[in-house]
Amino acid sequence: MKTAGRMNRRQSTLIFLVCAAGVLAVVMIMGIALEDAALETDFSRTNLAPCPEYLFGTDWMGRDMFVRTLAGLSLSIRIGILTAAVSAVMALLLGTAAAMLGSRADAVISWVIDLVMGIPHILLVMLISIACGRGFAGVVAGVSLSHWPSLARVIRGEVLQLKQAPYILAAEKLGASRIANVRRHMIPHLLPQFLTGTILLFPHAILHEASVTFLGFGLSSEQPAIGVILSESMQYLTTGRWWLALFPGLCLVAVVILFALLGERARMLLDPSSVHE
């Protein structure tokens, strides 16, 4: 029904993907470049409300909240990418192992999945972070070791289903080697699921990193993390400094939404059942 001049859905989705990834990359790079500026204090400009010069205002030490927020977002994105990647690899390995290595391995891995999912997420991240002595290492370990079970479960189910799929059985009967079978028939089917699953891990990873840091189990208070900024802002809420909490939080929500949309659109592109819509 589309007119000839307009782009089709596939093209507009692609353009959206490139733009969203571009925005996130720019935020990440600007944040790295501004890391030093974010720590700069200037007591001649403390507690300023948002104005054209300081878009997000300044805090009680005269730090520019806009710069701090950017640096914090950049840190969040980097931690998010790192932890989501580690989680995804763990999910892939354990998910395929559960499906391929027989019923005993399956029972053990499924039990571990149930175990990890049984502990409330935030408590588990807290516990792992404590085990690693909090700080950067604690957050990264906590978030990456707690986010794999749901994706591992999906991959396990997919591989189990694939093993019995008629076209795979037919290929085996036709004499295709095991490796060829995995490469030519299984990976093309699994890859889209795995990729979108990985992208959709980012939002969770970023939110949990911010939450755990907010509670005091994550990044130390010198670092310009969003969780630190928000937990500091708590002390100034009742005195009416709303900008300390409002803008950094809004930006975090925007970044997370961008990641979530990225994952959803990527799935539409990669999933064979919706690719032609």
Binding site: W111, D114, L115, M117, G118, I119, P120, H121, I122, L123, M126, L127, I128, I130, A131, C132, G133, R134, P203, L207, A210, S211, F214, L215, G216, F217, L230, S233, M234, L237, T238, G240, W242, A245, L246, G249, L252, V253, V256, I257, A260, L261
Partner: protein, 330 residues
Amino acid sequence: MKHRLQFAAKKLLRMALLLLGVSLVSFLLMCASPLDPLQTNVGQVALGSMSQEQVAQLEAYWGVDTPPVQRYVGWLLGVLHGDLGSSLLYRQPVLAIIGQRLAGSVLLLLTAWIISGILGMTLGVIAGACRGQWPDKLIRGYCLLISSTPAFWLAILLLLIFAVWLGWLPVGLSVPIGMDAASVTLTDRLSHAVLPALTLSITGVANIALHTREKMVDVMESDYVLFAKARGESMRSIVLRHGLRNVLLPGITLQFASISEIIGGSVLVEQVFSYPGLGQAAVTAGLGSDLPLLLGITVITSAIVFGGNLIADLLYGVVDPKIRRRAAKG
């Protein structure tokens, strides 16, 4: 009936094993911590000024000098006698603290759980029934926004609006400051619980609404709905008689499975509102390296989560005749 009992017994055994695993994993994680409980709670300066004997006494109190295996076995034996040990920070039995804190949290958790369940299901049914139209787009947008918002920031935002800006509701805690415990009225308690419960209810909606929507879309595309339309049934009757019934079962299951998320959210929300519940106790215990208390809280909350999953599994059989018959056959 016999099959159902067998099924329940098997699930219970699995649950007990999982709980044992949870306690072992949490214990090991806490033991592996390089954080010294003496340094965090007593402080470097105070430790330096103490005599050797005092330090040794403190070490014994915090259990630093006992080997981990002995500590864990001791803890496990205590649990079998119904004793979860004593909290090192509060100097009270862990069970007493958990009971006291849970009583504060239950009000929050239960209201949030019920409200988010009903609201989420309703929104999901509406979105699914109007697929592609504006109510659907609106609800989906709302779900995306909410699931991308950290619970603690939403709590801060509500605090800013309703407590600081409008001044309608108190800023924090579960009772007014400086008031005699006896003179605290029910209204006081409720007004302090409104904001935390509201935050939790809002955040809990997204997941169940999206899942219910998917199910509802499937139902609306099914042959029996097509037939109902052909018979001339009204939209209202289709949604109520065909949609709702089929969506209810997965919805209820999902709602029982979401207990873990609500408890996780309550940790953050209670911290923002300084609401004296279980979540806040967990944060205090974690920051203060209070091993017995954190271990107790982890095990109890996991037991609640597993209990929710168990109820969901059992409900499946009770509510859905198809599954009941299949279980009886197999």
